[in-house]
Symmetry: C2
Subunit: 338 residues, 2 copies
DNA sequence: TCCTGGCACTCGCACGGGCCGAGTGCCAGA
DNA sequence: TCTGGCACTCGGCCCGTGCGAGTGCCAGGA
C-alpha cells in the first residue's frame, strides 16, 4: 500500500503534468507544491510509484508522466468532482433554455459540452426502447403501393414505402389500419411483435400476404427506430491534443465518425453515475490514447441516454467530470419540462 | 498570353506537385514529362509563370509550387473531369441502392464521397424550396388535438401537433384532409399558400377557426422545412492535409462544425454545374487553404441541393470533380426512384 | 527569335560533434 | 526515515560542414 505522501506526490504529478504537458521532475514538484520534504525524498517516492506502475519516464533522465494506471488511481482516490461556478451554471441554463425541439436540445448540449470542457463532446439522443406507439397510419399511394407512417410518443415520425404483390382494397386497408391501431397504440415498441403476431390469420386469404408484408415492415421500422443516434461536436479541440499529430488524432477522428463504435462505447458505460474510461481501458483501438467521461441523463430518475466527452488521457478530470455532470443534470431538467 | 508550352509546363507542375507534395524543379519536370525541351528552357518558362503569379517558390533554390491562381488556370483551361472507372460506378450504385430512407441516402452519400475522394465530404439535405407535397395526413389524437403529417416528394416527413380550441368532428377532418390533398398534392411548397387561402370559407362556421389553425401550422411547417441541413463526413482525411498540422486543420474543423458557414459556402456556388473554389476564393477565413468542389444534385433536371468535398488546394482536381459529379448523378437517380 | 548547354551561385537540409542542464539513482550521515 | 551530495545519463540545442537540388544568366547555335 502506498503511503499518504506518495499518493500526494502522485496527485501533484498528475496536476502538474495536466497543466504543463511536460514530464515533471522532483525538483519542480517540491517547488510548486508544499510537500514538506526535499527533492531527494520525492525521488525515492517517484521510484516507488514507478515500480508500482503509476508513473513512467518517457526516456531516462526526463521527468515522470502518469500512466493510465496512475490516472486511474488519481480519479478513484485522489480527485473529487469540481463543481462549476455559479456563472457557469447560469450560462448553461440560459443556453439550453433557448432550445426549440429535440434536435436543438441535443445540438446545443453538444456545443455546450465541447466549449466547457474544450474537448470532443458526444451526446446520445434519448433512447426509444421505452417509447410507445402513438399512431400508425396506412395510406394507399397507388393500388399496390402503400405508405406506412409511424408516430411515437416522443414525437418522432417514420414512414416507409411498401410495394405489395397484389392490390389491396380500400376497405381492407381501413380494416387493417383500425385493427393495428387498436392493438398497438400506447404499447411499447418491444411489446408490438407479439401483439400483431396473429393478425394476418384474421384476414381473407387474398390479403394475408400483404398484411404480412406490412407487419414485417412495421416491425423493421420499430427496430430501426430503437437504434440509437448521437451527435458529436468540438472535434476542433482535437488539435490541442498533443505534439505527434496526425498519428494521434487520425484514429480518434475515425472512431468518432463511426457512430456505431461510439454507441458501443457509451453502451459499455454504467447506466447510472459517471463512468471514466482511461486510455487502454477503452476497448476500441483508436481510442486507447484517450479518456472518455460519460454519464447518463434523463428526464426522470431513469437515464434515457448518455452523454460525455472524449479527450486526451492527460485531461483535467475533476473539471471535466464536473462539467459533464452539470450539463447532464440541466439537459435532464429541460427534457422533463418539455 | 501564355504560350502553349508554358501552359503545358504549368499543367506538369500541378500534376507533379499534387502527386508528390513536394516543390517540383525543372530537371525533374523534363524527366517525368515529355515536354520536348531542355530543363533550361523549362526554367525560363517557370520564371515567366512565376512573374505572372501562377507558381511560387517556397524558398530560393527550391522547386516551384502552384499558387491559387495557378490552380485556377489549371482547373479552367488545362484539366478535364476524369470520369470514374466502370467498377467505381458500379460500386457507387450498389452502395447507394441499399439505402432505406432519406437519412440513409444522405449518410451513405457522405461516406461514399469521403471514401472516393479521400477528402471531407459535405452533403446538403434536399432543399424543399422546389419540393412538392406528396401527401398531407391529418389525424385526430384526441377530440381537440390533431396531428399534421407532411410528406414531401423527396421522402421527408414532418409532423406537428395542433391543439384546437374546439373539437373537430371526424367527418370535418376527413373532409379537410381530402380537400387539402386534392389541392396541394404535387404542388410546390411555394405555391401552397395561395392554393389554400380560401379554404376556411368553404367550411361550416364552427370549423373555420380550426381549419385556419391547421393551415397556419401547415404553412409554418413548410417554411421551417425549407431551412437547410447538411451532413459532413470523412474528417479523418484532414490528417493527410499537410505538414504544419494543428494550425492548418484547426480552422477547417471549426468551419466544418459551423453548419451555417458551410451552408453559406454551398449557397455561394452555382446552382447548376460544378463549382470549384480555390484557396482564397473561399470567403470564410478558415477555408482559405482549402479548395471546395461542389455540384448541385436533384431528382429531375432541377437541382434540389448541393454536395461536394473540401480538401487541400493541392488536390487531384480532375479526379475529385469526376467523383463529385458521378456521386451527384447517382444520388439524383436514387431520389427520383423513391 | 527561340532553344540549349554550361556554369557559378544560393540555400535548405541532413549529419555529426559538443555543450548544457534537467533529472536520476545511490549513498552516507543526521 | 529523511536529507544533502555526487556522479552519471541522455535528450535537446547550437553550430559548422558538406551535399545536392535548383536557380539565373549568358553565350552560342538552329
Amino acid at each position: 500500500m502506498l503511503s499518504e505522501r506518495r499518493l500526494e506526490v502522485l496527485r501533484a504529478i498528475v496536476q502538474d503534468y495536466v497543466g504543463t504537458e511536460e514530464p515533471v521532475g522532483s525538483k519542480a514538484l517540491t517547488e510548486r507544491h508544499k510537500l514538506g520534504v526535499s527533492p531527494a525524498t520525492v525521488r525515492n517516492d517517484m521510484a516507488a510509484l514507478e515500480d508500482e506502475g503509476y508513473i513512467a519516464q518517457p526516456h531516462t533522465s526526463a521527468g515522470r508522466i502518469p500512466t493510465d494506471k496512475g490516472y486511474r488511481l488519481f480519479v478513484d482516490k485522489l480527485a473529487g468532482v469540481k463543481p462549476l461556478s455559479v456563472p457557469e451554471r447560469r450560462a448553461i441554463q440560459n443556453f439550453l433554455d433557448g432550445a426549440v425541439d429535440l434536435d436543438d436540445v441535443v445540438g446545443r448540449t453538444v456545443r455546450l459540452l465541447a466549449q466547457l470542457t474544450r474537448q470532443v463532446a458526444v451526446v446520445q439522443y434519448p433512447s426509444l426502447t421505452r417509447s410507445t406507439v402513438r399512431h400508425v397510419e396506412l395510406l394507399a399511394l397507388a393500388p399496390a403501393r402503400l405508405m406506412l407512417v409511424l408516430i411515437t410518443d416522443t414525437g418522432r415520425v417514420e414512414q416507409r414505402l411498401i410495394d405489395c404483390q397484389t392490390p389491396f382494397g380500400e376497405t381492407s386497408l381501413a380494416d387493417l389500419r383500425a385493427r393495428l391501431n387498436s392493438r398497438i397504440v400506447g404499447r411499447r415498441f418491444t411489446d408490438v411483435p407479439q401483439l400483431v403476431q396473429d393478425l394476418p390469420e384474421s384476414f381473407e386469404q387474398d390479403d394475408r400476404a400483404t398484411v404480412s408484408t406490412v407487419l414485417s415492415v412495421l416491425l423493421e421500422t420499430l427496430v430501426e427506430e430503437t437504434e440509437e443516434r448521437l451527435m458529436i461536436g468540438g472535434t476542433a479541440n482535437l488539435t490541442r491534443f498533443g505534439h505527434d499529430f496526425p498519428l494521434t488524432i487520425r484514429p480518434v477522428l475515425e472512431a468518432l465518425e463511426e457512430h456505431v463504435v461510439m454507441l458501443k462505447l457509451l453502451g459499455e458505460a454504467k447506466d447510472s453515475g459517471m463512468t471514466v474510461r482511461i486510455g487502454h481501458e477503452n476497448a476500441h483501438e483508436g481510442l486507447t490514447s484517450t479518456s472518455v467521461v460519460t454519464v447518463g441523463y434523463g428526464s426522470g430518475d431513469e437515464a434515457v441516454a448518455k452523454l460525455g466527452v472524449v479527450g486526451p488521457t492527460r485531461m483535467d478530470y475533476p473539471g471535466t467530470m464536473g462539467a459533464v455532470r452539470a450539463v447532464a443534470r440541466y439537459v435532464g431538467q429541460i427534457l422533463a419540462e418539455s
